[in-house]
Amino acid sequence: MIVFNKVSKIYLPNCKALDNINLTINSKEFVSIAGRSGAGKSTLIRLLIKEEFPTKGNIFWGKQDIGQIRDKDLPIWRRQIGMIFQDFRLLPNKTAYENIAFAMEVSDWTKQEIERDVPQLLKLVNLIDRADHFPSQLSGGEQQRVAIARALAHRPDILVADEPTGNLDLLHTWEIIRLLIKINELGTTVILSTHDRDIINGLDKRVVTIEKGKIIKDDENGKYILF
């Protein structure tokens, strides 16, 4: 269970990105975060992985206050999360294969497990013939799919996807969304940030809508309400 308790984030000097957010996400839930560009979706996610710190309020994972995690233990917390970044953030000097393998190496998976899983993940995102390409040799959508595979590789408890389909065509978009649903059914908490109306309407899952840093709507089986 993830709990945001009265969380505010002000980027210096005075950009109020999040304003008094109260949000509870249960284990194994599938939650979409909807909102216009600049609403604060990515900020919410950055707080969760401790890339940024809340100006006010606390974030809990179960009983653990994320703000209290010591630097030494931070990697362990981050390994519970699979993160798909809006801007991909692949390692430019590693191939597609190595980028995915890196997430597993970090979490101490064995060589055999890595050699077994990485090709499967590449197949899953339809990139097996691009395994040895560097990010600079991949299209935007291909990079995004590598980023997705990397986020899944170490079997995280929580999958956080920030706009994971922004660069994909319709066919790939729905393939990815179906993948996320399947992963969720296998027991992973999924947090999906998007401003894509069709995705949200097609999902028929919980939708949290943010506007100007505030939660304005939180619906089970939600629909996209912004224009």
């Binding site: 990697p75 917390w77 981050r78 390692l91 000097n93 890196f102 970090v106 060589k111 990397r150």
Partner: protein
Amino acid sequence: MFASLIRVTKSGGLSFWRNKWLSVATIIVMSLAIFGITNLLLVNVLIDSLITNLEDKIDISVYFNLDTSEEQILATRDSLIELSQVKSVEYISTGEALKNFKAKHQDNQVLMQSLQELETNPLEAALNIKAQVASQYESIVNFLEKEEYQKVIDKINYQENRTVIARLSSITTTIRQVGFIGLAILAILAILVTFNTIRLTIYSSRKEIKVMKLVGASNWFIRGPFVIEGAIYGIVAVLATLAVLFPLLWYLSPKITTYLPGTDLLYFFQTNFIALLLLQLLVGIVMGTVSSIIAVRRYLDA
């Protein structure tokens, strides 16, 4: 633990290879640094042999009264040799002194004539003493001031040589100090330049470091490959240095020997090769790894 050590090593080696051009630039800088340090070390060897050459030319002579027995002189020699300051003592008997004198002045008819007219040998027996270092003559002379020696010693030519010895000893000390300070300054410069170069290569990876942190890599897992890469820089730089230094010495050493007889840099290099290699490797690897660790730290904390 062992598995991640292998991973880190592989990753460092791979990164070294993929960043070939950046690596080459760093290695050139490091090679220059190691080359400079080694050369100054060799120059210090040259200076040392130059000084030894000079110091070998000075000695003091102790002349004994004509009625001193040979045993007494030899006893004095033995106790002198016991002194740690003394490098060598050469005994010149009265007979030898005469022979030397004749050989030296054989063309001088007047002198030869008058020598012949003397009934006995007028030349005193002597001990020629060389000290380890020029500044030690004073204490050797002090040692000979003891009562038992004063009885048999006629004179010591130290007073006449004193100023020469003093000046030489101060010059040699200064040269040694200058050589050492030069070595130290160059070493510090080389270390700073190397550190800066490595810092630049790591600066170009700062975004990568952040991403690695965000996907949950521990600090050692991130740092490791950079440290390995730094060590590889050091090792390759040492090999590159040797590849230049060896032919250079092979070519220059005979020329230096003609100017400074008794100095053979190539020979010195060959006999001390293992020690030099280890020293260079130590310098190279320590510079490479420590620079990497310090440079990465900035981005790990961020």
